[in-house]
Structure formats: C-alpha cells, structure tokens
Assembly symmetry: C2
C-alpha cells in the first residue's frame, strides 16, 4: 500500500479580500508553470499548523494567521498519495519575497482564482470552494 | 491563538456500498446521541493514516483499507479548533464491536446518510460530499 502523506495549503487573504497565488518555477518536477496556493508537505511528527506557517514563511516571507478549514483534496502520485488540507488565512505582515520554488505571484479576487492555469485537482477544489460560498471568515 | 488540532474520520464502505455510522453514547460530552463516522484526534507526532486505522480499530474492531480523501471540515470549540479530514475506506475484515464511546451502529446507503441525527457541520459535509458525487473509488 502506498504511503499516505499530508500536505497543507494556505488560502491567504489580504485586507482587500484578494487571495495569493504563486506560479511554480520552470524547474518544478511536476506542474511546472502552473499556479497554486503557498504550502507544502508536513514533515513526519510535525503539527500541520506549524508546518503551514513554516512553508508560507519559506515560500513567501509572509506572516499569516490561520482561520478556518476550507476543505481537502486527494493527489495520487506514482510513489505516494497525498491528502492536502486547505486552510484560510489572513495576511498579518510582510511583502511577498519568493523562494526558488516559484517565479511569480499575484493577488487575485476570489472570482478570478479559477481563471489561472493550474492542476485539474486544484481547479476542481477552487470551483467547489467558491460554490460553497468561499471564505467563511474567522 | 487557540491550538489547532487534527482529526481524522473514515467513510467506510462495505461490499454492498453501504456506509458505517456510529451513535455517540449518552455520556459523550458533546453531541451525545448523534451519529458520526468512526475516527478521532491525531496524537502529537502521529501520522494521520496510522491514527485513523488505530481509531477505527478501537471504536469498531474493523480492519479497513484507506482510499481517497473525501474532504475536510472545521470544528470550533471553546478551548481548541479542529481540522477534520474525511477519508474513504473499504471494509477488509471484522464484524463491528463497539467501544464505550458509541452505543449503536448502522450500515446505510449513501442516500440515507443525511437523514440521521448528527451535528450540523457533519450534515453539511455529507450533503456537499454527496452533491460532489460521493465515493470516488480507489
């Protein structure tokens, strides 16, 4: 049976209600050039909320506060499978400073999230999330 | 900031496509007498899939195989908040043997899940899950 990992992603809202998306760099093994939320895999033994704050700091330089769960999706890969948890968050401090993992970013209104080039699973998640009403607040 | 815990729940299908629900015992601190999926909180440092297999074995005596992620919901409680991950699963072996945490169980067709008395968050999750098409298979 394939190992089952846990990933966490932040749907970060700024003070204008816009949401941060990052574009995966051209060197990415998978989904190069597509857009995604900041976040990553939870290390063994790590708490998921600490992992998310760490990944967001590493990938964007931002300080955020976590709000409610937005949902979860499944990723099936050759060697592992991943449960990915999406958490809503508020921008608290910082300006975006990207790592090598990404080469562009943008703050978009919720209604435009699904228009960017992204993996099919992420697109389906976003469409369902917006249909459910999107951000539920704190 | 409230601690953010992780819970895991199994949507267990038998060979007839029916899904297992358990009724919380009368001594339960919260939601006594309401129906829920088997599962519980992930201990600090524990992998979520191992936690789920453990909780299901403790609460039902069943052996299951985990399939795809079904989604996630948020629970806000006075001292903590919880992200709860729902994972689809197949019954592999065993007959249901309840622990003290529950006092009844039933195997229901998907279309009847939402008819049982349950917490509002769980009801909303189930309605959305079924609208999205329910079980996605292995």
């Amino acid at each position: 049976m394939k190992p089952y990992g846990l990933g966490v992603k932040a749907i970060i809202n700024d003070s204008h209600g816009q949401i941060l998306l990052l574009r995966r760099s051209a060197q990415s093994k998978r989904f190069a050039g597509t857009w995604e939320f900041p976040g990553g895999k939870v290390d063994a033994g790590e708490a998921f909320d600490a992992a998310l704050l760490r990944e967001v700091a590493e990938e964007t330089g931002l300080t955020i506060a976590l709000d409610k769960v937005a949902g979860a999706t499944h990723y099936e890969m050759p060697e592992i499978r991943l449960a990915v948890l999406f958490i809503e968050a508020r921008l608290e401090a910082g300006e975006v400073r990207l790592s090598d993992e990404h080469d562009d970013y943008c703050w978009v209104p919720p209604g435009e999230l699904a228009h960017l080039d992204m993996s099919e699973q992420l697109h389906e998640f976003i469409v369902d999330y917006l249909q459910r009403g999107g951000r539920q607040g704190v």
